[in-house]
């Protein structure tokens, strides 16, 4: 029975981390965790090798979290830890790439011996500093930075640390609540694991863990071995903050390994859109994993054959004290580049480029509105998406997040929470790149203040100057736009004030097409025509 037992243990570990993630998502206070799933959860063996990671969660943490536990163990070797200890960090370089992500690591003991570790990461809405956004010049301006420390010592919370955290953030109740929910989801995972070990009569996990890792690594290597060797290059220019950013990618398939190198990419930005290497690794390898070995669960074994590098000091390997708060804006563009390389190795499989970066404006009242406006304070951070790239055999998905896994907030809920009226939120006809299969459509959003008061919009938008490109003869998606109706065109990044009575218009980008437009089937054309979408 030991053969089936190993498989059942694996299934159980996957179920446990999934439950861990679901618990975290339900109990989190930061909206972006609950609504958008900006979190991750996993279980590790005693050497810090990841055994299972929840599917629920963001691809942005895929490798970052796997690497993170090793860093915790380097600081606090397992032999020095005791039951009831809980470790914490939000260091962008030890965790998952910006200060808003707090990672909590909890060792699990069985009869006094460490058997595993649980890790969970979630995005806490505010960490002090300038607030979430790209406007800082150094990480020091971006908020409180907690190095790897003990949050709990033998079951007792470190009051000094907790007081320090709550004193430095704008929404202390939320931050404290989220630290507790991270702790609780790890504890729950640990309890489930101990129960599973009883059920399956296991004294330790490392044996079955090694089998899980080996099996996954071998399957991944087998699949890579089936891909043609070679060096595949792809470059992409993205809008950036104040100037365009070049992303250069060389993907090498050699035998049973894939090496991704971002040498030649732009240097650091003066703004908080720089990306630490752990976050670059996450989205670059997600680009591979969503088409190669996508049915193999994430763990140390399946992640190992894909290696990611970027030159130190480049925008994709930003080192301290670079500002990194909005690292997602560039990070989410990386799968498009990686898929562009893979398209040369495995033609006719990968999707075209899409809008990729989510459009999530921060909308808030203007403190100095003056006039006769009530000027009630509000802040909302709704998420809008553009189109995904056309797939190899079908159209792209309209207004759908990729690679991010977010969900949007309903218009009605936004209007209950803020004195804004969303007058339009509709498909943007014709915005998908032409092709045999067209790109997914973007959307048009029009927003006014209910009382005609001015309000502030803070933006981290992409693909306004550099649209999503098609593949294999497919056309580019329509670029995004943001402007005042009947007035000025706004930049894609940074803050602007929407004047009294004015309408803010956002047009999210369309995805690129695949194949030549001449080959598009009549039926598909007729369908778009009939729907009024061409």
């Amino acid at each position: 029975m030991s053969k089936i037992r190993d498989q059942l243990v694996w299934n159980r570990l996957l179920a446990i981390v999934e439950e861990q993630a679901q618990t975290l998502m339900r109990t989190a206070f930061s909206a972006v965790v609950r609504e958008a799933g900006d979190l991750s959860a996993g279980v590790f063996d005693t050497t810090g090798a990841m055994l299972a990671q929840a599917v629920t969660g963001t691809p942005g943490h895929v490798n970052a979290m796997a690497a993170s536990v090793g860093k915790f163990l380097a600081r606090y070797p397992l032999v020095e830890l005791a039951p009831g200890d809980v470790l914490l960090t939000n260091d962008p370089w030890d965790g998952t790439g910006h200060l808003n992500d707090f990672t909590v690591v909890t060792p699990v003991f069985r009869d006094g011996c460490p058997v595993a570790l649980f890790a969970a990461t979630s995005h806490i809405a505010d960490v002090g500093g300038r607030g979430f956004g790209p406007d800082a010049g150094e990480v020091f301006e971006e908020g409180l930075r907690v190095p790897i420390m003990k949050l709990f010592d033998k079951g007792r919370v470190d009051d000094s640390l907790m007081r320090l955290v709550v004193a430095n953030v704008r929404d202390p109740a939320v931050a404290e609540g989220d630290l507790y929910s991270l702790t609780a989801c790890n504890r729950n995972g640990g309890e489930q694991l101990l129960k599973a070990m009883r059920d399956f009569d296991l004294d330790e996990l490392d044996g079955v863990g090694q089998w899980i890792i080996d099996t996954s690594r071998n399957a991944m290597r087998d699949e890579i071995r089936g891909l043609p060797d070679g060096v595949y290059r792809r470059d992409m220019t993205v809008d950036g903050y104040d100037e365009p950013i070049e992303v250069s990618c060389a993907l090498t398939i050699a035998g049973d390994a894939i090496d991704i190198d971002f040498a030649g990419s732009s240097g650091l930005s003066a703004f908080g859109i720089n990306v630490p290497l752990n976050y670059t690794e996450a989205y670059a390898s997600f680009g591979v994993r969503c088409v190669v070995g996508n049915d193999i669960p994430n763990n140390a074994g399946s992640l190992e054959p894909v290696r990611v590098r970027a030159p130190a000091g480049s925008i994709l390997n930003a080192e301290p004290p670079a500002a990194v708060s909005a690292r997602h804006a560039l990070g989410q563009m990386l799968p498009d580049v990686v898929l562009g390389c893979l398209d040369q190795a495995i033609p006719g499989v990968v999707p075209a480029e899409g809008a990729s970066c989510i459009w999530n404006p921060v909308l808030r009242n203007l403190a100095t509105a003056g006039g006769n406006f009530t000027n009630s304070p509000f802040v909302i951070n709704p998420i809008f998406n553009g189109g995904t790239g056309a797939r190899a055999t079908k159209d792209g998905l309209s207004t759908t997040a990729f690679p991010s896994g977010v969900r949007t907030t309903p218009t009605e809920v936004n209007e209950v929470t803020a004195p804004l009226i969303i007058q339009r939120r509709e498909y943007r006809a014709g915005s998908g790149g032409a092709g045999k299969h067209r790109g997914g459509l973007g959307q048009t959003i029009e927003i006014i203040h209910a009382e005609g008061a001015p309000f502030v919009v803070s933006k981290m938008f992409e693909r306004i100057r550099h649209p999503a490109r098609g593949r294999r003869g497919g056309g580019s998606g329509a670029p995004g736009r943001v402007y005042i109706k009947g007035g000025e065109e706004l930049r894609g990044k940074g803050q602007d004030v929407v004047p009294p009575g004015a309408t803010l218009v956002m047009e999210t980008p369309g995805g690129g097409g695949t194949g030549s437009a001449g080959e598009r089937e009549m039926a598909a054309k007729a369908r778009d025509e009939e729907a009024g979408l061409s």
Binding site: E19, A173, F402, E412
Partner: protein, 675 residues
């Protein structure tokens, strides 16, 4: 005691149960998809015959059906139009703008029931307070009429932004279109689901509109035929919320019928739990394709307001059409007797969610099934009596079962010495573990403990697997009710008349206004009374809930409303929140988004989930070496030690080694670990 007839139309079978006095007669006929009423009439004639009674004697008919669900899944509903707010034509299709599966770039989101060209936007706008920002352009609505007529539209859904706060514009559209096209059926989102969150509300309204003409025709047809046959008694419909409603209500809101069959099963389990005072129960309904699991505390099944029809991608959350209706909350996974077993490229055995279904079914059915299923594994392990399966109507082919288990699993997976039986054992372990994992996750999601519950198992495949699942979940006991094969229909007999109404009315506890609650409750009570009053007998009981959250959170939790004070709401919220999440957040304000009110009629006749056991006349001697025993031969009380299989027409209860089984005084089979 009145004679009552329960009819459950399922995907494969139509189950008919007649209860007359102390007797209960059951019957299973094939569902007649073209004319579902044919099967009903056929089954009805047969049970009357078996019971030796005539149609006039029936006092009430209780009916549940999957017809609405099937129409949605197969996209066979009416040609439906959505009239909606200008600027928001694509709400139905943009949905949540997310992917339900991260690692598959080729997924498709569910196709909306109403395509874009039939989503017609008209100028109008309310704000969140229900104040008119833009008056409805009546002429624009009138302008739609010629197109609707030309296109032969049969059904119209009307959904406007913030229509839950003020339905005036939706009602005006109903009046205008209703006058111009009296034969077109009209559904208002503000009637079917007056709840904030436009996508889910419009989705519910469109689903209702989509099945309304079809269900209306079917229900009228069935009533006519029953009348002609001499059944002239009241006729009630089973809803997904586990209560009964009038046919008139069902014709208005057929979307409330979608999960009525499974709800019936859960109601049966709940009733048994109440009668035997089992405070903590989990029910398992495992059929050919899926398993459904429901948590039942203090005789009440878990209820909720969200459901997805047709989760088309491996039963995954997000891959179906969301509807907001009162439902008995269940988790459904692709684990059934027909679930296919294979070995993936990582050398792992995978079972389900693909299923051989009932056609061709498992290989052992001998109807052309070519791949290993859970039932084939059960046959290999000698858990089923090949000659008595389905009452002996289907002889199981053991060799065929062995052959597919060998080809699909044993060859690439099992060891030489273990062979086919090792593979079969592994298949059942994997499917049992899948169900146990689903139950565990479901309990965690609702902040409940799973261990130490009693498992009530019904549906053809559940009693075979129940003991092993109970072992994995550390459950106390397994209970298999009599007639477990027609559990849903029997459950209808146990269901009360009830109706739940919802309203979204925003309230912050820091700005508490008692008037808000009192108004909204009075309004809901009047609506529920109008539905329940005419069909319920005796006194009605009322339960009220508020859907609350900390200000700014994304999900609400259901909180009982005991009286209309801020303090009691806060207390109830704290209690419910702590139970779910284990911890309160001091100092945060709390808000209410929606309210519900449910009126429940007292159950008419006394109902027994299980009947007193007709002690068998045979003097069955149970010896330890019997590997199989017929259920009717088991005497009440005396335990039989596993391993043994207790066989009956519709299912088999497996008592593994280490367990013992006995029949209680109600005829339930109870399994416990041997002392």
């Amino acid at each position: 005691m009145p004679d009552r007839l329960a009819v459950d139309i399922g995907g494969t079978f139509t189950d008919v149960v007649l209860e007359t006095g102390e007797k209960r007669v059951t019957n299973k006929v094939l569902t007649t998809h073209a004319e579902p009423a044919d099967g009903v009439m056929d089954g009805l004639a047969q049970v009357l015959d078996q019971a030796g009674t005539d149609p006039h004697a029936i006092d009430v008919v209780l009916h549940g059906t999957t017809l609405a669900t099937n129409a949605l899944i197969e996209r066979r509903g009416a040609k439906t139009v959505l009239v909606t707010t200008e600027g928001h034509r694509d709400v139905l299709e943009m949905a949540f703008e997310n992917r339900f599966e991260q690692y598959d770039v080729n997924i498709d989101r569910p196709e909306p029931l109403v395509p874009r060209r039939w989503r017609m936007a008209v100028p109008e706008r309310m704000n969140a307070a229900g104040e008119v920002l833009t008056p409805l352009d009546r002429a624009a609505v009138e302008g739609l009429v010629p197109r609707l007529v030309d296109e032969g539209v049969e059904s119209v859904a009307v959904g406007f932004l913030h229509g839950y706060a003020n339905p005036a514009h939706e009602r005006l559209v109903r009046d205008v279109l209703g006058n111009a096209m009296p034969h077109v059926s009209i559904t208002l989102a503000s009637d079917v689901c007056p709840e904030i969150r436009e996508f889910e509300r419009f989705s519910t309204a469109c689903a209702n509109a989509y099945v309304k003409p079809l269900m209306s025709r079917y229900l009228a047809d069935l009533r006519d035929r029953l009348n002609a046959f001499g059944v002239r008694c009241p006729f009630l419909m089973m809803t997904s919320g586990g209560g009964l409603c009038s046919v008139e209500t069902a014709r208005q809101f057929p979307i409330r019928l979608v999960e009525s069959g499974p709800a019936g099963g859960a109601i049966l389990a709940a009733r048994i739990a109440a009668e035997l005072t089992l405070p903590r129960v989990v029910s398992l309904d495992m059929g050919g394709t899926t398993a459904k699991i429901c948590l039942i505390d203090d005789g009440e099944p878990l209820l909720s307001r969200s459901f997805e029809v047709d989760r088309s991608y491996r039963f995954k959350k997000g891959s179906g059409l969301p509807v907001r209706i009162p439902v008995v909350e269940m988790v459904e996974i692709g684990a059934g007797g027909g679930s296919l077993a294979s070995v993936d490229r990582l050398g792992r055995i995978q079972v389900g969610p693909q299923s051989a279904g009932s056609e061709p079914g498992p290989a052992c059915y001998g109807r052309g099934g070519r791949h290993a299923t859970v039932t084939d594994a059960d046959v290999v392990l000698d858990r089923l009596d090949p000659s008595r399966f389905a009452g002996g109507t289907l002889h199981l082919d053991v060799d065929a079962a062995r052959a597919v288990v060998e080809a699909d699993v044993a060859q690439s997976w099992a060891s030489a010495e273990g062979g086919i039986s090792e593979a079969a054992d592994a298949i059942t372990e994997v499917v049992d573990e899948n169900m146990a994992a689903a139950a565990r996750a479901h309990a965690a999601e609702w902040g409940k403990e799973i261990a130490s519950r009693t498992l009530i198992a019904f549906g053809g495949a559940a009693p075979i697997h129940a003991a092993n699942i109970a072992d994995k979940l550390e459950l106390d006991a397994v209970l298999v009710p009599p007639a477990a094969g027609v559990g849903s229909a029997v459950g209808f007999l146990a269901a009360p008349v009830s109706y739940e109404v919802v309203r979204s009315r925003y309230l912050r506890l820091s700005a508490f206004d008692r008037k808000v609650i009192d108004e909204v409750m009075a309004d809901m009570r009047a609506e529920a009374q109008a539905v329940v009053g005419p069909v319920a007998q005796g006194e009605l009981s009322e339960s009220r809930k508020a859907y609350m959250r900390y200000v700014g959170q994304g999900f609400e939790i259901a909180v009982p409303v005991l009286d209309s004070t801020a303090e009691s709401l806060r207390r109830a919220f704290d209690g419910a929140y702590e139970q779910l999440y284990g911890r309160l957040i001091p100092g945060l304000d709390v808000e209410v988004l929606s309210w519900t009110l449910t009126l429940v009629g007292r159950d008419g006749a006394a109902f027994h989930g299980s009947r007193p056991h007709a002690v068998s006349s045979g003097s069955a001697i149970v010896a330890g070496n019997h590997s199989r025993i017929a259920r009717q031969d088991l005497p009440v009380g005396n335990p039989v030690a596993g391993p043994v299989a207790i066989v009956e027409d519709q299912t088999t209860t497996v008592v593994p080694a280490g367990f013992e089984g006995r029949v209680d005084e109600y005829g339930n089979v109870i399994l416990r670990r041997s002392p």
